[in-house]
């Protein structure tokens, strides 16, 4: 996995400034997951978003400029080895076909968009151990016939 050089710069600046992604959420008016995606060059910022971000992080206009470019996306590897990321891969290996059945039953032949898409992470306090709540919302795209 090739982490872009700018990602290290952004993460280091964030640590120096003592800012969390939740703090940046307030500054940018964008969700923390999207901002983290911007850090990893998996999303592109408007000029205004990029300015606000580099200002908050104490970085220069060259970083802002790079953040507005449309990146080559996808960080790989094919099968992730990091346990946190692998679990999401496993979820798709185990629950992918069942999900397909349920989505098709509710919506018909088509897919959930990964482009017109949002994702949200919340911490659920639980006496038996806190839980990660992950909510995805993607537009349903029915197969066009022609």
């Amino acid at each position: 996995m090739t982490i872009p050089a700018i990602t290290q710069k952004l993460l280091a600046a964030k640590q120096i400034q003592g800012l969390s992604f939740t703090d940046l959420e307030k500054i940018l008016g964008r969700d923390e997951v999207w901002i983290a995606a911007l850090f990893y060059r998996q999303a592109s910022a408007s000029e205004d978003e990029a300015s606000k971000l580099v200002e908050a992080l104490g970085l220069g206009p060259d970083v802002a400029s790079e953040l507005t470019e449309y990146p080559l996306k996808g960080l790989g590897p094919v099968v992730p080895t990091d346990p946190l990321i692998y679990r999401f891969y496993e979820i798709m290996q185990v629950y992918g076909m069942p999900l397909k059945e349920v989505i098709q039953e509710k919506f018909g032949d088509g897919i959930m968009s990964a482009i017109d898409f949002t994702m949200d992470v919340e911490k659920e306090t639980d006496p038996k151990g806190d839980r990660v709540k992950l909510t995805m919302s993607g537009k349903f795209l029915p197969y066009k016939k022609w």
Copy 2:
């Protein structure tokens, strides 16, 4: 991808009975995604759950018996080709590292369990096109030190 033979039998019976996964949700008292996972032999049923299911589907006790076995899980392939399933793989390729950053910031060093885990699919009506809402909830497991 090798779909188990029992899956075809269960899906055919469900179609003949005119039952949806949502209907089965009421009959079994289990979520429709979990039931679809049971159909694909990615989950195992208790004897009581298996009995209720085969009764609803008009199938015999041999099917019930097989559903209580602990299956070999994971349907593959490494990179899914079906577009609906691939989109979830793509989401992890694109948003996997950002998710890791956000989860670690909120919880520390650890993972979201894919075993102590639930998943829910909802249809969100939207004038610009309906949306698939997918909610995952997994227990956070901190790395044990020893």
Copy 3:
């Protein structure tokens, strides 16, 4: 590559009936490429489309019924070996990044949908050798920010 059993049946019936995909285009009111995709179980038919097709091919209602199911899509293999299909893979290996540049310059950060999508094949007569003209049209989907 696992060609579905129904595909052989449909192709054999089409040959016996002496029908071309262009003939089927007129009978179904759908494009020949889409119909060929239906033959290979890469698309699903409405009940009406399925009835018309099996009637034209002299096949039974069980075939029609199977054609209305939502299939698992993607025929593989990862790198195609058939020279006709490989050339399209090569086009993406060679012109994929240039295409990305041009599409992004015209549309911004996003993708061409492969779901809200049509494809058309034409024969262009040319004295230096006939040409295959392939036209794809896909909705542009801009990345949603959240």
Copy 4:
């Protein structure tokens, strides 16, 4: 994917000069997709084409010289992870065999050339969302018998 060093230089110069690929199309008398392919070293320029391009971009003769070399082509990876490029890969996974059927029915046993080949991108305005129109034209090459 290893992007050649010259590509970064060309893209940066193009941005500084405020030129689009469409602008370069007029300057070079070549299609914008071909020019983007030249940027990525997937095509080679004549000396005249190379001179015009480096002049427009304010670059030196060493760049022009490199652009006339015959490059090693194909940018990989085997399965692209960038969503924009992946969609074209998916199209071949899903519609490859149907395309083969239709092309063979129209032309006989052979292939569409990826060498005697052109490709064009257009923006189709559409109230339901603009569309990417991609037109490929390749000479049909029948299998020689010997």
Copy 5:
């Protein structure tokens, strides 16, 4: 590697009839390599060629009919394990880039066609050990600019 069922039938019949590929060359008026390619369903015959072949082999019209179909080509595997076939793969691993240099120097930017292509095998008697002489001839296809 999946050898087509018809290949076994053809090879067995050829053995029973005591015919070599060189014999078939005279009967069909086609080169023995092309005929062997037809046996392995890597080429398609005209109706006349198919009739002559099945007559010579004492096989029926169903075999002839199958031989006129346009096959899915490429027998795999990715890296061949059979030593005879692997050596040709090794030749490309070792001499592929040098060949590219020499062909480009003689012809310019383009490729040798594998479609408008013939191949011939001869036995060269040599006191130090007989030699296999393999001659390939493919049309040079220059890259089209557009």
Copy 6:
């Protein structure tokens, strides 16, 4: 694919000297394909051959010395993406098994050597388009029984 550093040096010197591989053929008394293989460190030179070559190219004795070392051979990748090289791979995917049949029929159980081996490239002028003629000659090695 990792092109050795010395290859760039040799190719650049050859361009500066305005020498073709055919010119070098006369200077070294070796075939141009073998010389190109030496450039890519897929062959090793005698001290005499190395001296003649570096003299012709205006390079120093360190280059000559490196050219006499026995290299690690094979340039990869597993499946080549460059269209010129891929076509030779495709030829083996399509015609590998037919070739095996014909060679075995003529020679018995064994292989064509890729070591006691020569290869020659010629340009055949043809009004319908020039052709690449590639001739390989390899010693037949019968399987030893023991």
Copy 7:
């Protein structure tokens, strides 16, 4: 396999100080395997643990700081080539399914956690040759139904 740069620094310092992992076990109050995992950036330290470690090794606070970061885990490669590590991979290839049977028989449908997990290495003296005793202890996680 990409060994982090910090790993080399830690291993070198440990050698210079003449400390074994068993020595470090006493200094940190953590098991030697966990400490070795920290060296390879497969675990993260508390600030206190990091301070103690860098003090013992004579390294600076920047090393301590890096050791508290949550690392990207998994060192690969997919199939290890080092014989010592491969043997553990082989054990899973050979005994994986039998282990699954025995664990499921004792515990039901679920897994052994690799997160709430400890591992211990001991040397067992044996006249026929010393033995490596490896003890793993992981929390059993039953599949949640929902």
Copy 8:
């Protein structure tokens, strides 16, 4: 993964007889993990062991005979998808190099044998959740110098 046919027969007989692997441990005088390995044809039995086992399971002498054959071992796949088995793969991805360090520090340059090897599974009751205790013991094999 190809589970041998005999494995299904043995598992079914064991279920019919109501025997656990722990019960079989007493009958055979072998560890339950080894017996499960025998079920999956990853180990070979003596004639006496095979007789005892088939008698206990009510199976015939042909099964006993097959169990004494030396099997082809290793069940694959390269990266396991079943979550229970994957966790052991993950443990090697994460802790493989640290283990190597610790074993080498204690024993020198060599490996833990996977052949002169035993493995034991125990259930540890724990109020915070039961734990799987897995103990491996393998002979240390030092690298021979010659």
Copy 9:
């Protein structure tokens, strides 16, 4: 790995006849390893050898006939999982480059033939444990220059 059907037949007959490969060595006048290779269809027999073998094994002329065919060789898989076979793969991973150095130092630039090749297995009795002695002898083939 696809073991040919004839292999099972030959191994079963050998067991029924109570013959070892060493016994067959005497009957055929060929080495036991070569005979085992013939069993696995990795070598082809003369008619005389095939007759002697099937007579000894009590099998019919159809088996003899099949044994004289020139087989497709190489049993795979890419990385063997069986521990006995894997060890030879490991030996090449670990000692392949050192072997290349030593062979080249003794012989020059070339290879050891795997075709003009013999292999012998012996049991060496040793008080510290018996040893497998494997002797390979292959003709050295120097690279031909041309």
Copy 10:
């Protein structure tokens, strides 16, 4: 394949000193293959062996120190492309299963150790062409039952 930096240094020094591996065999009292393995960091030296070697090669104590470290072994790649090394891989693809049969017949269920292992290369003069004689000797390890 990543050749360690120290390997280049050792090979260069050996060339400068005009020493062959056979010469080093006498100096170190170790076999030339083992010494070549040490050069490639596939074996570790005692302090005494390392001192003798660096003295003979005119290198410093830092090289000696590195040679006593226990290396990460296995040079890859999965399928070697160098023809000399590939032939040994091919031998295992072709003769692996036959070898397994013969070894098991002589020794029972177990493996030949690749750790308690020696290997020797000899040149056999032969009027028909010199031969490489390669002798391996590995301790037989029977599978332990438990």
